[in-house]
Assembly symmetry: C2
Homo-oligomer: 208 residues x 2
Amino acid sequence: MATAPGSAGTRGRRRGRPGYDKETLLHIAVTLFNERGYDGTSMEDLGKKLGITKSAIYYHVDSKEELLRLGTNRALDELFAVAAEAGAADGRAIDRLEHLVRGSVRVLVEQLPFVTLLLRVRGNTEVERAALDRRREFDRIVGELVLQAEKEGDVRPDVDPATTARLLFGMVNSIIEWYRPRFDTDDAGLADAVARIAFDGIRVNGRA
Amino acid sequence: MATAPGSAGTRGRRRGRPGYDKETLLHIAVTLFNERGYDGTSMEDLGKKLGITKSAIYYHVDSKEELLRLGTNRALDELFAVAAEAGAADGRAIDRLEHLVRGSVRVLVEQLPFVTLLLRVRGNTEVERAALDRRREFDRIVGELVLQAEKEGDVRPDVDPATTARLLFGMVNSIIEWYRPRFDTDDAGLADAVARIAFDGIRVNGRA
């Protein structure tokens, strides 16, 4: 969904004022928020980074908060889209959970700056609290899948399901801390790696 | 090591100026850095939080950077102490790795504010770069243990060892995002949970 600044796709969709379309503006704003912190970034900083005036930014968005809302919703919409896919909705809970894990890894990699923004939100404003609410709703879906998979006998019962769910997505979300596109393995390879390690562990001995 | 503010241990060790000893000052400073960000916290903010003057803070430390150095080193010293333990130094690499994972979980839980500070360091100052260097050295130890355990046939060879090491400690480090003392399971239970899931996976079927 997100188009890298300056890519052909972005250039083709430019309209309104010259300089930047809304998508490119959002991408650069979110990257700046991630570098300096949302609170530490002003619209002046963003204008300076873009080489445009504040009023050119306000042509596209009403406020800094709107950029935050658009940025966090980009990540959340994609994550909920994965949860709504057939593979995450039908079948045994363990398989739906694996579908959700693999899809989430794909979203993290494809929407890296947006998911990074989302995962750093602390809830100081209304927009941030709304993002946290949606994040909790996603976590609730994960938690229920783990619980159901345990009831179906597929997830180990010797760890509390809430802890299992947190550690599982703790591993998934850690990707934003170290994954760098181009330098790392592709996202299909990464999804395989996460699924293998999370579901069957890093140890060879004892696995079938 | 860290003593909670106002606990009996802290009160017994007060000396010099009245109000706060250095340990308590450090604990409160680090907690404030975690809440507001290191860059976003001034010595004035810290004085206000403590209800003391800036000069009362400077009685204990030379600068805000010294507080950052002390805070990140607290976490790093404890992590390297685990890596230096016999259990992490002798025997099969997979067992040393498990010792290191369990010990790291213990450090994260016991030194939660200090490890949180460490994991959020971005490297903008000399002190931050020094902390990142030590963190990389710790990650190098983890990476070598994973590599050796794979050579010894104990870690799955179908995931690149560097990715395995990152995902393993991604799971461990995620604890700072959600673990809250008193409300969550104790640290021994948490270390068991992490070791079980990381080494043998969340799936029941297929494990011995």
